[in-house]
């Protein structure tokens, strides 16, 4: 039984990854799951310098989901290279580094620094709804997405995944722009912008007012966007959005994703990633599926 998938020449032992920002750099969850069982660890976004992130409260629970407005707090690329990458290299899993920035230069700076670190792929975060500057703007206009993608591709020594925002009218337009600019793969969806109000205090629950909605609540939107995008582009897609179990993950694979990522549900169950990986194998056994590739995009 083959569960290996390849994205831009990089082979993954299975299609199960972690969604950036929900798994740190793997250290915290390594107390619960064996990182060697994962196709890849996608790290929390890292910038050229440390970021403080937003004031608290940064978290709000919603019906079947959650809002976060962390604001990409991170230690910056120096600490990341010296601490987080060596930690991840101890495991037999792929390392995908999520890169964030406020200007094109910020992104390029980080991309360059990562060039000789031996990480496997880069995921360019142009869709975080929680930082005022740059970021999201790059991800909601096709021309700016095209521009940053080609700029990153020129500098990148690793294959580049562009992480797309679902807060757009036509996801396929964005996907085609990224593909045209040379992106090696796409990951989707980042969070939907949402808001929660405390009606008793008559105040915004999040200090940032708005936050990013994730969790099972958004899965139908994510599956739809992955399906539409798989029809529109040739580059592989990493699908995510509310994956809680193997069946959820399989929905994304059937819709056309080559790999999947577990995000918010790590918080609801720290064992989710490995349970999903094992559940996919059980499903393949149950239906006598020899190669996982026969599942990808096979919905009718």
């Amino acid at each position: 039984m083959n569960t290996k998938v390849k994205i831009a020449g990089v082979e993954f032992k299975n299609p199960v990854m972690t969604a950036s920002g929900t798994f740190g750099s793997g250290m915290e969850y390594s107390e619960f799951v064996d990182l060697n069982r994962l196709g890849a660890v996608v790290t929390k976004g890292v910038a050229s310098v440390p970021w403080e992130g937003n004031p608290t409260p940064r978290i709000a629970e919603t019906y079947g989901g959650m809002l976060n407005a962390i604001g990409l707090q991170n230690p910056g690329i120096d600490v990341f290279i010296e601490r987080d990458i060596p930690f991840l290299k101890k495991f037999d899993t792929r390392i995908i580094v999520n890169v964030c920035g406020k200007t094109v230069e910020d992104y390029l700076d980080v991309v360059e620094r990562l060039g000789d670190t031996g990480v496997d792929m880069l995921e360019i975060n142009v869709s975080c709804p929680n930082v005022k500057e740059g970021a999201i703007a790059f991800g909601q206009k096709a021309d700016s997405l095209y521009a940053i993608t080609s700029a990153v591709k020129k500098k990148a020594r690793q294959p580049v995944i562009m992480k797309l925002s679902p807060n757009v009218t036509d996801i396929t337009e964005m996907a085609r722009a990224a593909e045209a600019a040379g992106a090696d793969a796409l990951s989707m969806i980042n969070t939907l912008t949402g808001m929660k109000i405390d009606v008793h205090k008559r105040k915004f629950v999040l200090a940032n007012r708005t936050g990013g909605l994730s969790g099972p609540a958004v899965k139908p939107v994510a599956v739809r966007m992955v399906y539409q995008t798989a029809q529109a582009v040739k580059i592989p897609i990493i699908g995510m959005g509310g994956i809680a179990n193997a069946e959820d993950a399989l929905e994304f694979l059937l819709a056309g994703a080559t790999a999947v990522a577990v995000g918010a549900m790590n918080f609801a169950n720290p064992y989710t990633t490995v349970e999903v990986a094992e559940g996919i194998e059980d499903y393949m056994k149950q239906y006598n599926i020899e190669d996982i590739h026969s599942l990808i995009g096979s919905v009718e």
């Binding site: 920002g21 929900t22 798994f23 740190g24 915290e28 969850y29 107390e31 619960f32 929390k44 440390p50 970021w51 403080e52 992130g53 608290t56 409260p57 940064r58 978290i59 709000a60 629970e61 019906y63 079947g64 989901g65 959650m66 976060n68 962390i70 707090q73 991170n74 230690p75 910056g76 600490v79 969790g215 099972p216 918010a264 549900m265 790590n266 918080f267 609801a268 169950n269 720290p270 064992y271």
Partner: protein, 263 residues
């Protein structure tokens, strides 16, 4: 540090010990290693709620392998919890956080200050300090809304307990600081848990007296294990994780030295 784990276990008993305040014993071997000031995350069964509820450990029974939590019903999650009967399945993640530093009490007169639903962790703390017997003196100051003095008698077994009530129906009318003043209490170190205004008062008091204070903070959490960076607090020094003066309450805390945090 022992490994954190998520376990599915059972409720041993639950009773309402004051209006909206519930007292639950849970069967789990997490009791063997639980420290005063640590907390559990409890996952609701109603799946419209994804996130675990962080609740501090009130008492541990190592021989019988059971943990006690005392919590206030504050929303849909704790409301569900309050309905669990004996034998009900419960999914918990523990033991989380650092707990109070018992060594800081050695040879000292210690104040254990609890406000409202910050009182429960003071029970196990008083118990440990009493059993270790290394503290010179242990005094509990507990702030309640009214004369429903939950856990007072339990704590009384291990320490002298002074009470303040908002409505003056028992002990000192006012807050814990009023009770300290009215009773002319003195200490060399403070350990406290309660609402932010109380913790700020404790921090100020410790600074004035030039003594150490260890305070337990709370903030909205998602993962409870330090991955999501949701529950941060402002620190004086750069934090170890992100180097941006934002420590993670769930893992670097919930107990901090008052002088290390800006609250």
């Amino acid at each position: 540090m022992e490994q954190k784990k998520k376990v599915k276990t059972k409720v041993i008993s639950q009773t309402e010990i004051a209006d909206g305040i519930y007292d639950m014993w849970i069967e789990t071997d997490l009791a063997q290693t639980a420290k005063a000031g640590q907390f559990l995350c409890i996952y609701p069964h109603n799946e419209s709620m994804l996130l675990p509820r962080p609740i501090s450990i009130c008492e541990t029974d190592r021989e019988k392998g059971r943990l006690r939590i005392v919590y206030r019903v504050a929303g849909k999650g704790t409301e569900e919890l309050s309905l669990y009967h004996t034998g009900r399945n419960i999914r918990i993640l523990g033991n989380l956080g650092n707990g109070f530093p018992l060594e800081a009490a050695v040879g000292k007169r210690v104040f254990l200050i609890g406000g409202g639903i910050g009182i429960p962790p003071m029970l196990q703390l008083a118990k440990d300090l009493k059993q270790e017997g290394k503290a010179a003196e242990v005094t509990v100051i507990a702030g309640y809304r009214n004369k429903q003095l939950f856990l007072k008698d339990d704590m009384g077994k291990y320490a002298a307990v002074y009470v303040a009530t908002e409505d003056g129906s028992a002990g000192t009318e006012g807050n814990v600081m009023d009770a300290i003043a009215e009773n002319g209490l003195e200490a060399d170190v403070i350990m406290a848990c309660g609402p932010m205004p109380m913790l700020r008062a404790v921090k100020r008091y410790a600074e004035e007296k030039g003594i150490d204070a260890y305070i337990s903070l709370e903030e909205r959490m998602a993962c409870g294990v330090g991955a999501c960076l949701g529950c941060v607090c402002k620190t004086v020094e750069k934090d170890a994780h992100s180097h941006v003066n934002n420590a993670r309450i769930c893992t670097d805390g919930p107990v901090f030295s008052a002088k290390d945090v800006n609250i």
